[in-house]
Amino acid sequence: MDRLYVFKDRLFLTLTVLASIITVSIVIAIFVVLLLASLDAIKHFGVFHFIFSQTWSPHRHIFGGASSIYGTVMTTIIALFFAVPTSLGIAVFVTQICPKSLKGIFSYSVELLATIPSIIYGMWGLFSLAPVMRNYIEPALQRLFLPIPGLKVLFEGTPLGIDLLTSGLVLSIMIIPFIASIARDNFELTPKEFSESAYAMGATKWEVIKDVIMPYSKVGLLGGIIIATGRALGETMAVAFVLGNDHSIHLSLIESSTTIAVTLANEFTEADSALYVSSLFYLAFILLFLSFFLLSVAKFLVKKGVKRHG
């Protein structure tokens, strides 16, 4: 009987080990497979040339990733521009201002934003947000900024609502809950004595937040922001609806564009030549590499933040 126990225990142990090995192998396999699949394109276009070449022409069999990479980076920057201040504001509100009784329900509402699937963000962006952007927000921004010489280039063109700005805005709403919840957790980790001793010296609430709580939480906050960046970089559906899949680089924020993920979503099943497919895999590999790198850095920072508090 006890032998049976030993056997079953070994069996269970083996299964659990296998499961964790499978998990790691998947990640390694993704890297290897995508790299192999993009070898063709890497040989053809090299690394720097592919990253900086703007031409994406299936007819002429010339592929450069610059337009997709530009769109990816720009939408992410716009998203962060909106999301970081909003999320910090939410975290400040939840931890410092909100009455205790409303705190739970409020945090939960913000977290609900994170549970809404990206396809819904896309639908909403296309049919609800884009018309508002086209008819009201973007014309208003143009009236405001076109007269200013330096900012003129950012707001040129016909407002269509299908553009970098709308995409960035949708992305920002998607990442707000992540940054806000990490910020909230980090704010709450700040020891009470720290903020109380600042209050005792006559600091205002805002000064306590700015001079004690924020500096104390900065490592964890940075980690959270980078995780959100990683998510924004690779988001597909929410952006695919409202960006327009246009392979040319415009400085203006109200022009359509594309991201790596959107290019993949739109062209992968239509790619008709080996080189075309390989170039798409190349883009996928770049996206994988970027996100993995960013998320590893974030992981490291978050761990460091926790350790310091712990």
Binding site: Y5, K8, D9, L13, L15, T16, A19, S20, I22, T23, I26, V27, A29, I30, A37, P85, L88, G89, I90, V92, F93, V94, Q96, I97, S109, V110, L112, L113, T115, I116, P117, S118, I119, I120, M123, W124, L126, F127, I173, I176, T204, K205, W206, G234, E235, T236, M237, F241, A261, L264, A265, F268, T269, F281, A284, L287, S291, F292, L295, K299
Partner: protein, 281 residues
């Protein structure tokens, strides 16, 4: 203006801005939910669930095939993803808790949770769709399983870590082998947490679109055979929303309505389970 008054003013402005930010967050939530509910509700009818899509441009069809396809893909994905996720998490929290390897797996799984899902789609395309020569529900399910595994693995690990060590020791002291300790004591103690983790993991992939685009692809016809390309609700929404027909948009909204309502209910249910868990003892 004297210094103190200036400081007080800055304080008021800053706090006012954060209240504004908070309500901006709420505003988006309400805006999105109200849009989907109002536009989707009018499009809901019985034929949505019981009829297959009408040919492009014709009205009166439903999305039965997409509901069924989505269900099959999600179930197959769960059959692969849940056991691997729970087993892997069990290794990290139990047998392997002292090994460096476990920390590595845990960190990698954490990173995997946030990797772009479309990249997983391209991966599965090249290891399954290309060799097999056709899109298939199995490929879609496999892609979703890959996304599900790290989420469930990490929640399992965390939930098992919450079970006090003394409880395991008490079972060991009675002469239980480790697998029985895990099965009878640890899993049972963490049951509510594990269930919530699985629920969230499944809910997350059940609404994924990007990894399905070039794995299960789409199919205008009803099918229950996962070895063929399979329609899914999410891919159908994408196709219909980007399409030119008013009728398609209506169906896309109806499908979005169903998804949002389901997700909200699941998330509230999950919340409820967790709350009950922590209020007890």
């Amino acid at each position: 203006m004297d210094r103190v008054r200036k400081r007080k003013l800055i304080n008021k402005i800053a706090l006012g801005l954060s209240v504004f930010a908070a309500f901006l967050g709420l505003f988006w939530l309400v805006f999105i939910i109200v849009s989907v509910l109002s536009k989707g509700f009018s499009a809901i009818n019985w034929s949505l669930f019981f009829k297959d899509p009408a040919p492009p441009g014709f009205s009166g069809g439903g999305l039965r095939s997409a509901f069924v396809g989505q269900g099959i893909i999600t179930i197959v994905a769960s059959l692969i993803g849940i056991p691997i996720g729970i087993m892997g998490g069990t290794f990290l929290a139990e047998y392997g808790r002292n090994f460096k390897f476990s920390r590595l797996v845990s960190d990698i799984a954490d990173i995997m949770v946030s990797l772009p899902s479309i990249v997983v789609g391209t991966f599965v395309y090249s290891i399954m769709v290309r060799p097999m020569g056709h899109f298939s529900g199995y490929a879609g399910a496999f892609a979703l399983a890959i996304i599900m595994i790290p989420t469930i693995l990490r929640t399992t690990e965390e939930m098992l870590n919450l079970v006090p060590w003394e409880l395991r020791e008490a079972a060991f002291a009675l002469g239980a082998p480790y697998y029985k300790v895990i099965k009878d004591v640890v899993y049972r103690s963490a049951a509510a947490g594990l269930f919530t983790g699985v629920l969230l993991g499944v809910a997350r992939v059940a609404t994924e679109t990007a990894p399905l685009l070039f794995t299960s692809f789409n199919n205008p016809f009803f099918t229950v055979n996962p070895n063929q390309s399979m329609p899914s609700l999410t891919v159908t929404i994408y196709q219909y929303a980007m399409g030119p027909y008013e009728e398609w948009h209506r169906l896309a909204w109806a499908a979005s309505f169903v998804i949002v309502v389901t997700v909200l209910l699941l998330s509230i249910a999950g919340r409820f389970i967790i709350n009950r868990r922590f209020s007890k003892r």
